[in-house]
Amino acid sequence: MGMKGGSGGGGGMGSACYVYPGAPATPGFVTPDVLFQRGIYMNGSMTFDDGNAVTIWGFTDLAAGGGGGMGGGSFPSPAMRVTEGQIVHTALTVNMMWMHTVHHHGIEPSQENDGVGHFSWDVTNGTYTYQWRPSHAGTYFYHCHTNTPLHAEMGMYGGLIVDPVPNPNDPPGTKRAFANGPIYDVEAIWAADEIDPAWHTLQWSAGTCGGDVGLNNLNPRYFIITGVDGANSALTNPGVAVTMQKGQRLLVRYICAGFHPQKIDFGGLTATVVASDGRPLPQAWQTTSIEAHSAERYDCIFQPTTTGTWTVTVTYYHWRSGAVLGTARTRINVV
């Protein structure tokens, strides 16, 4: 087992090795409280501030009419938002040309539903429904776990937020980071990632049968926040930059979505870090910057007491040398 012959299509031609194709029935399948129907896209793109573009892969929302492979889609992939205790289905449909999985990072389900190919299956030629029930509110993300260095770098990830069960004593619409946790008014999801264009020309199974395709060596040229170029665009893009009223509380869900270590600096604002990796901290942590490595998440509360504009800077460091690779910037505007 563990081998599959060549299959082609968008994302390139090529054979794949050490993949575990399958799309079986879900053990213990029940009717869910929430259903996400995800397809995949293999021919998206992202254009940077300098005019250059790279190919992007990702997940589509089939329920919203997303396509099934050859086209494009949103980057990052559509976020998932669920409530603690719900039974959730993530139905992933992949055609016979490719293999992918969904791993809900930080969610800890059974082996079959963990989305790791060699411990279960790489989904192809059908649909597998991941069944899980989140037990802890917080910030997570989902990503493909097939040929992971490549598929995650290509963009196959999206946000995953678990909200607490609403507190019946709270006014309707109250938003909390976790049960009995801090209330927030405004929310931002900052997934900070880096892009090496050289990787974005590879086909989906690149390197799996051996040979040097450079997956040990990530030399990013672009630095992005939640799918937006951090050179300039993220300073003002309304999906990234925050505009809030003085007196409001902001929850920033910071996700280290790249592979090199990072530092996020809040430009003079002090964050009250209340949770990390989907777990509340025993005591909140006050800081003006956070050092993080791949896949860590930090939930940060801000309550600025004056109006103004603060520039947030993510600095990316080479995993070996520590050299600064680049920066991405966005803003918090308090009006």
């Binding site: 260095p149 592979f259 270590p261």
Partner: protein
């Protein structure tokens, strides 16, 4: 073989409590002992997952076979370590015990060991020294990358289930010693040519091995496959809380990610954390970074229907480390978390 005749100083005289394989086993003692070990600095070759054979050096227990990492040593505060090191190679080497806090000076050293010579390091462990240590060769900045490294666990005196006195408790303990290998370095050392000034690692190991996924040659062989190496793999029933002493001897910083359970993060770079955070991903620094964390072996909390068994990965999330030779995803630094 090992010479123990001189090991008469101090209290009880013990053969070194080291393991060539398997978990660290430990029983606390009420009195101090001398822990002795003889190691041989020697060289050899190791075959990488893509078939490339590389020159390596290591501390072995025989004169001609390097072990990477060296056998782990476990002792307790108050004990005296007596480590005799024979240098079987033609250049000067040493063995130092790194400081508890990353970046601090080594706490003990053999000093230079000339080719063909030997030295004995003797060190009585003070109280308050409990923790996880890397011993390694610092005669050059890169000798530890070649394989000259090993783990030393110092237990609090008289305690068998805490990292430091008063820490959260565990029932098992293991090392995860991470290394990154750039063949250009190994080849330059072998050939005596100029050492590269910049490294690009191509192989990534945990306790000296890389993983081999199902279908690969060596899959399931605990001497080849890091998924099955009992030094690396965590295997337990619910409640088998396992202390993992993570030591980074390599070039790169890493993001240590466990599936199935969050870890209880106890220390960073040798310093006890102000409070215990539960993390699914931990930032393990390079430049001799280290982390102690407990993998709690709780039922995976988000399974529906609930489960208590299964197989899951621990892998590094800086995914370049999950490759070998520039490709071969799943042949990097990864092991298995087995819920029995």
């Amino acid at each position: 073989m090992e010479r123990r005749a001189f090991l008469k100083a101090g209290g009880a005289s013990l053969a070194s409590a080291l393991m060539g394989s398997g978990m660290l086993t430990w029983s606390a003692r009420s009195e101090a002992a001398t822990i002795s070990q003889t190691l041989y600095i020697t060289d050899g070759t190791k075959t990488m997952p893509d078939g490339v054979s590389l020159y390596v050096k290591g501390y072995g227990t025989t004169a001609n076979t390097p072990l990477i990492p060296a056998p782990s040593i476990i002792c307790q505060e108050g004990d005296t370590l007596s480590i005799t090191v024979y240098n079987m190679l033609s250049v000067t080497h040493n063995l130092v015990i790194g400081g508890l806090v990353s970046g601090s000076a080594p706490i003990a050293s053999t000093g230079d060991i000339a080719p063909g010579g030997n030295k004995t390091l003797t060190y009585t462990i003070p109280s308050g020294a409990a923790g996880s240590y890397l011993f390694y060769d610092n005669k050059t900045s890169y000798n530890r990358f070649l394989g000259l490294h090993g783990g030393l666990a110092i237990m609090p005196a008289g305690i068998s289930n805490q990292l430091y006195s008063g820490s959260p408790t565990f029932v098992k303990q293991q090392f995860w010693i991470l290394n990154d290998i750039d063949p250009a370095l190994n080849t330059a050392v072998k050939n005596g040519t100029t050492i590269p000034t910049s490294f690009t690692p191509r192989y990534f190991t945990i306790n000296g091995l890389s993983s081999r996924p199902p279908g690969a040659a060596g899959h399931g062989d605990p001497t080849i496959d890091a998924l099955y190496d009992p030094r690396s793999r965590l295997s337990g029933h619910i409640g088998d809380r396992t202390l993992v002493r993570m030591l980074n001897t390599g070039m790169c910083s890493h993001a240590v990610h466990t599936h199935a359970n969050h870890m209880e993060w106890l220390t960073d770079r040798g310093t006890v954390r102000p409070s215990v955070w539960k993390k699914d991903t931990l930032y393990l620094r390079n430049n001799l970074g280290k982390i102690d964390a407990i993998f709690p072996f709780e039922a995976p909390p988000d399974a529906y229907p609930p489960v208590t068994s299964g197989h899951f990965p621990m892998h590094l999330h800086d995914e370049m480390s999950q490759t070998a030779g520039g490709g071969l995803y799943q042949f990097g630094s990864m092991t298995e978390l087995e819920f029995l």
